[in-house]
């Protein structure tokens, strides 16, 4: 069996680690019994008085306690669709930080409280990402701009709409330069509005700027196909996937869409058709951790490796080869596989270097993937920012050639490498206007700050992929005095009216004609609004032909990098739950442990185990990376001389959550010939300092038992229970003296397919939003008190320099023979007649016996009162933030234990619905929060009493096993053995 380990310390010397843990524990306990600290508790006469007075007063208050008078205020006129106590779902679209997702917004009594995936969307198909889940919290953020401001003073919108166009007019007439800086615009109506604005103010230059750009791909496709666009990918059609550093399951282009596609092909019952995934990368990404085979290379070697791969394929297929240095890595097994699955393979690359992308295009073209797994006709629009335009603008700005700047929802002061210089330049501008949702660096440097509505408050439309339209509709009246930027722009053009009508008008003229089924616009519009999405039926077109000369010019630039440029390579990346930093003030997002490192609240310098030994550093030691000091986190699977640091932290101007969390590493981005490169060379030096990191990695040790079961596809196709042989043995040994529990109607169960789960962490945040799970802050996370009801354990095995990685979501297992239930002295945790392990907060007295007796360590204790507590100044400490709470779930108080309830509120809701409709429950009708939005479809919930249900069939599956089943706890949660598909031979 493989050796599984949780951290480098454990791998190196597990007995030492245990010894250290024990020593720490003893020291902590000693501190509690410290005689000095006890002395201070010796009571004095005054203390006696205090206590006496207190008890008298307390008792008296209890004796005369009266309920406060509460009011019940009905609607003056109840809107037809609103039933108090019932929730409504509205279809909408999420597009922030270049990530698109079709969503349903759950609105309860007028407040959006939860985001679900929209199953109607042909792109995201009901999946969401952790960021999408967390976005509802940003609506209720105290750091949002509440009023339009001019140099810090409140002004009215009327004044804004008078003053600014006047100034713009003046600048335009003096032939001054006006720049409109936006992030990528995927809304067709918004584009039209911008065109109108450009017509109104001659010489207005529109630049799209993405904090993390894919400009290299746009440029490469322009060179190869004459079309500066990102193609759409079909991972579901690919039998062999080769990714060069593209984190397509985490952050690359459209992760939710790709995860859906990818996981559909990760089913070992497809036998030979199950996809094989190779990842060639320099740092451990989420995607890399899911790969069947992972190859570690230096990011500076990527070009050479790619060109070598190209040459080898070209040799086999009779194409032109190009002279290049010898690659450091042998990828012949990948070449073999790719050649075997021509037209069914997919090579992707995450680099922003157009030369690398051109080679990838050439490889895909040779393999006949265009038209099969890649579509260059229907292109993806989520990243349109052109690096060279942006860097030209920055140069102009710094040289004083720009007169006016309109910055819409962008933050270059924070997320452009020359941020500080940009800030100074903006402050000197004649006119600077920032449209921003919440407090941010660029807006604070501008003269005018105009609040933008949150996407849940606004109208909008999107076209993330050619021909796939969707709508954004408001689900709450704007909380603050904000206005959509489009409405403001139209007002500057002298037009009045609201943006919805503009969208409707645009759709009537431009989108409505794209279909023929409906002839009446209003009824069609209402249907689309209800569904949220509209797909144009596309006519198949011939894929463009690749321009081979583009490759030739490229190959001369692919050279090995000389060693003199620095000791180490620094790679900056986005964490999948955190993004580029725009959502940094979101406490859910901030506290979510990173999918790979399991660190929350900070970014860090991820260093390979070998490099750490070489530098003599350990976790939490500080190193100087060039000028920047960063804490070390030892990350297995990291290339030896590569240090990876996440972007999106170290916000200097933001809300309370973001400020002071982590370090800003945007300055590491290199601007080479106007293109932003996310790699740099630097020096590394150990510092004699430490910095605490909130690591959740060593939480909840499973102590090396058979927790993750795995096999390879070859074994599995020979033997159905490969890797899971012990399950049968354990099943046979189930003997009990006690009565078996009886379930008259339902027995709820959950099955998790470890093959599909990518470990993205969406379920953690979905659960947090659904179940009012508290945010507790960095210090408490460090104290191992994180409250998440569903955690994703990440295990490594084998070689620490390039380990195999396992992701395993663990929540309450709802054991039928639950160890927690029989130790509770007050019966606060009991078994229901539907197989649920019930946790009753109002009975719990906080002995924590159950926590100690739970073999899965899934029970959470409220060490503090996390609501209405200044010490935990997150969303539940203010009235605005509390609006996100789910009114169907109790907010737990101090001193009680909590844990996963399998979303019992949803079970009850659907049961009631069935009763009211006089029918039986349908299989798949009840969906816990984690299952509903899982982008990988890895979680299945259902009734084990129904032999026809999906869950019953999965429980019968030979891959099914239970966690630590040898303990005879009889869990209602099953796991399906992980089956890898490595190459043969």
């Amino acid at each position: 069996m493989n050796k599984y380990w949780r951290s480098i310390e454990e791998l190196n010397d597990s007995s030492k680690l245990k010894q250290e843990e024990l020593t720490n524990e003893i020291a902590n306990k000693k501190a509690l019994n410290d005689p000095e600290s006890i002395e201070t508790f010796a009571s004095t006469r005054r203390d006696f008085l205090k206590v006496f007075g207190f008890s008298v007063a307390g008792a008296a208050v209890v004796a005369s306690c009266k309920k406060p008078v509460e009011k019940a205020i009905p609607y003056l006129v109840r809107p037809e669709e609103i039933i108090p106590g019932q929730c409504n779902y509205y279809a909408s679209s999420y597009f922030e930080e270049n990530e698109y997702c079709g969503v349903l917004v759950k609105v309860r009594d007028g407040r959006p409280i939860k985001i679900e995936g929209n199953e109607q969307s042909s792109l995201t198909k009901g999946g969401t990402s952790a960021r999408v889940q967390a976005s509802v919290m940003s609506l209720y953020d105290l750091a949002r701009y509440k009023e339009p401001l001019a140099t810090g003073e409140k002004i009215t919108w009327e004044k804004v709409n008078n003053e600014i166009p006047q100034k713009l007019e003046e600048i335009a007439q003096a032939d001054g330069k006006i720049v409109l800086l936006t992030s990528t615009v995927i809304s067709p109506t918004y584009r039209q509005v911008i065109t109108e604005l450009q017509e109104r103010f001659q010489g207005l230059d529109w630049i799209q700027y993405d904090a993390v750009s894919s400009s290299g791909m746009l440029e490469a496709n322009d060179r190869s196909f004459g079309k500066a666009a990102i193609p759409t990918y079909h991972f579901d059609k690919a039998k062999v996937i080769v990714s060069f550093g593209a984190d397509f399951l985490g952050t690359w282009i459209s992760p939710v869409e790709f995860t859906k596609q990818y996981s559909s092909r990760r089913n070992p019952d497809l036998k030979e058709q199950m996809s094989r995934h190779y990842q060639v990368e320099s740092m451990m990404t989420l995607t890399g951790s899911n790969a069947d085979e992972r190859v570690v290379i230096k990011s500076s070697d990527e070009g050479i490796v790619l060109l070598n791969l190209y040459n080898e394929i070209a040799k086999q297929l009779g194409g032109t080869t190009y002279a290049v240095d010898q690659s450091s890595t042998d990828l012949s097994f990948i070449v073999r596989d790719l050649l075997l699955s021509k037209g069914e393979s997919l090579v992707v690359c995450g680099s922003n270097n157009p030369d690398h992308q051109v080679i990838v295009n050439a490889i895909n073209s040779m393999l006949g993937n265009y038209g099969a797994t890649i579509d260059m006709i229907s292109t993806n629009r989520v990243k349109q920012g052109d690096d060279r335009k942006m860097s030209q603008f920055v140069e102009d700005l710094l040289n004083g050639k720009v007169d006016a700047l309109l910055a819409v929802d962008v933050n270059p002061v924070y997320n452009y490498p020359q941020g500080e210089a940009i800030k100074d330049a903006i402050e000197k501008l004649k006119l600077s206007v920032a449209f921003a949702k919440e407090k941010q660096e660029t807006a604070e440097a501008c003269k005018y700050i105009l609040p933008l509505p949150h996407y849940l408050e606004s109208w909008g439309d999107t076209e993330p992929t050619d021909g796939k339209f969707s709508l954004i509709q408001p689900t709450i009246h704007p909380l603050f005095n904000s206005r959509p930027v489009q409405e403001v722009f139209l007002a500057w053009c002298g037009k009045t009216g609201n943006y919805r009508d503009v969208i409707k008008f645009y759709w009537e003229a431009n989108v409505f004609p794209k279909q023929t089924d409906n002839t009446e616009f209003t009824s069609w519009w209402n249907t689309v609004l209800q569904r949220g999405v509209f797909d144009e039926i596309s006519v198949p077109e011939e894929q463009p032909i690749i321009d081979v000369t583009s490759l030739k010019a490229t190959t001369t630039r692919i050279k090995s990098v000389s060693k003199t440029q620095g000791d180490v390579e620094v790679v900056v990346y986005e964490m999948n739950g955190k993004g580029n930093g725009a959502m940094a003030n979101n406490p859910w997002s901030m506290e979510m442990p990173d999918s790979v490192s399991k660190v929350s609240w900070d970014n860090f310098a991820a260093i390979s185990p070998r490099k750490a030994i070489e530098l003599g550093v350990d976790n939490e030691d500080m190193v100087a990376l060039g000028d920047l000091e960063l804490p070390v986190f030892i990350q297995p699977g990291q290339e030896e001389n590569t240090i990876a640091v996440a972007l999106g932290f170290g916000r200097s101007v933001s809300g309370k959550v973001a400020e002071g969390a982590g370090f800003n590493v945007y300055p590491f981005i290199n601007v080479v010939e106007g293109r932003r490169m996310y790699q740099a060379f630097s020096t590394v030096k150990k510092l004699n300092k430490t910095y605490p990191l909130a690591m959740t990695q060593t939480h909840h040790s499973m102590e090396g038992r058979e927790i993750v079961r795995e096999a390879v596809l070859e074994e599995y196709s020979r033997k159905a229970n490969a890797g899971n042989e012990s399950h049968e043995r354990h099943e046979k040994h189930h003997v009990t003296l006690y009565d078996e529990p009886e379930f008259p109607a339902h027995q709820w169960g959950l099955a998790i397919d470890l093959n599909k789960c990518t470990g993205c962490g969406n379920c953690t945040i979905a659960c947090q939003a659904e179940n009012n799970v508290a945010v507790i802050g960095k210090e408490q996370v460090r104290n191992r008190r994180i409250m998440h009801w569903i955690r994703i354990d990440r295990y490594y095995s084998e070689n620490p320099e390039n380990p195999k990685t396992y992701h395993q979501p663990v929540m309450c297992q709802h054991c039928d023979n639950a160890p927690c239930e029989n130790v509770c002295p007050v019966s606060a945790t009991m078994h229901s007649n539907e197989g649920l392990n019930q946790m009753v907060y109002n009975r719990c007295v906080g002995t924590r016996y159950c926590i100690n007796n739970c073999p899965y360590k899934v029970r959470r204790f409220n060490w503090f009162k996390y609501a209405n507590n200044e010490k935990f100044d997150f969303n539940v400490n203010n009235d605005l933030g509390k609006m996100v709470l789910n009114p169907d779930v109790t907010v737990r108080s101090r001193g009680v234990v909590e844990k996963c309830s399998l979303c019992v509120q949803r079970i009850q809701e659907k049961k009631l619905e069935a009763k009211l409709e006089n029918r039986q429950l349908n299989d798949g009708e009840i969906q816990p929060a984690c299952m509903q939005t899982c982008p990988a479809d890895a979680i299945v919930f259902g009734d084990l009493k129904d032999p026809e249900s999906r869950i019953s069939k999965l429980f019968e599956h030979p891959r099914n096993y239970h966690l630590i089943e040898e303990l005879h706890t009889l869990p209602s949660v099953g796991y399906l053995t992980k089956i890898r598909n490595p190459h043969k031979g």
Partner: protein
């Protein structure tokens, strides 16, 4: 010795506390006068006398206060209180009040205000008096001696008996302080226990509502179905307090009630005109950790509203009929039979359903199907 001094200090501090509270009450009532205010005070005084009937304006009729009470009263009255009238006419002119008094509108008011004759200055004085009520922020209900004082008093007795028992020893028969101690302690314990048990419960709670809405008139005399107004009761968690526009379904025509005349019904129209909904006082409220769904009980189990809410159709003032304690819920679940034949959902309970179909066991209670499981209500 130190201990004695300590206990003496306690007694001192308690006395001091009581004195302090008294003093602060006196201090708060000390107004600053000037000429204008003195004059106004005179007018208010006259108005008050008129209102109270001390200066009779008209021997034939009863004084204002006989119907429009000034102090909070325990009994229910259909007539608007002085404060309510004051609030309504505060922003209006004296003439308006005079007009209403001299030419009463509506049957009810015409009947009770028949042939009232007022002098102009009398109306003015009454109006000024009424305005003063508004300025003074209304009439506070009299404070009653509540359990707090009793509890504290018992506490003092306990302290004193302890002091005597251990230190001063003035009482000859040692048994007396012991008895006092035990009795007081026992009574305190009893108070604590009962109050703690009733904590958060509010059986018989029947607060005055902003509109004297009578369920007896609507559901009893006029036989309006509960679900006409509480129309989400069979489909939602909340039964739904009717929105104001629903009242107007009838009250756009029914402008005068048989009991309260136009005064109360006018409040609905005022609410609509002001765009501000009626702020009812909530009576039935479960604690936050208990989940209750009306749809399950009314929509599925087809329970009668009276089962929990009592004979609402006989209540002028709505009160909470049951204590809504957990024991009350659980007992009802134990006694109430589920009609398994009627709802197809219950065929999921295979064994029970078969038994039911065979007629082996005619009835299963809600409890037997699991309705008393913790997580049916607590999550």
């Amino acid at each position: 010795m130190g201990q004695i001094r300590g206990i003496c200090r306690i007694v001192h501090s308690i006395i001091l506390l009581v004195l302090l509270v008294d003093f602060s009450v006196v201090a708060a009532e000390n107004p600053v006068d000037n000429d204008h205010q003195t004059q106004k005070k005179e007018v208010i005084k006259d108005g008050k006398r008129l209102f109270m009937g001390l200066l009779p304006f008209d021997r034939k009729h009863e004084s204002c206060v006989s119907c429009h009470h000034v102090v909070a009263i325990d009994t229910f009255s259909w007539y608007p209180s002085a404060l309510e009238i004051a609030n309504l006419y505060h922003a209006k002119a004296d003439k308006d009040l005079e007009k209403v008094l001299m030419e009463p509108m509506g049957n009810k008011m015409s009947e009770v205000h028949q042939e009232y004759q007022f002098k102009e200055e009398d109306v003015k004085a009454i109006k000024t008096y009424l305005d003063s009520l508004v300025v003074d922020n209304g009439v506070e209900p009299k404070p009653s001696v509540n359990n707090l004082f009793l509890f504290l008093f018992l506490g003092i007795l306990i302290t004193l008996s302890l002091v005597d028992l251990i230190f001063t020893r003035r009482i000859k028969y040692r048994i007396i302080p012991v008895i006092v101690l035990l009795a007081c302690g026992g009574y305190q314990a009893k108070m604590l226990m009962f109050e703690a048990k009733a904590l958060g419960r509010s059986k018989d709670y029947a607060p005055d509502q902003p509109i004297k809405f009578s369920h007896k008139v609507h559901a009893g005399e006029n036989q309006i179905d509960c679900k006409y107004c509480h129309n989400t009761v069979d489909k939602s968690r909340s039964a739904g307090i009717p929105s104001v526009n629903l009242c107007l379904n009838c009250h756009s025509l029914v402008r005068e009630g048989s009991n309260s005349g136009q005064f109360e019904i006018n409040k609905i129209h005022q609410a609509v005109e002001n765009g501000q909904s009626v702020e009812w006082i909530r009576i039935h409220k479960l604690p936050d950790h208990a989940y209750f769904n009306h749809a399950q009980h009314v929509g599925v189990a087809k329970l009668d509203c009276n089962k929990c809410h009592g004979e609402v159709e006989k209540m002028h003032v709505l009160k909470q009929e049951s204590d809504m304690s957990m024991g009350w819920c659980v007992n009802c679940h134990r006694e109430t039979h589920v009609n398994m034949g009627e709802n197809k959902y219950y065929s999921s309970y295979k064994e029970q359903h078969e038994a039911y179909a065979r007629g082996d066991k005619n009835a299963f209670t809600a409890d037997e199907l699991g309705s008393n499981d913790c997580m049916r209500c607590h999550y």
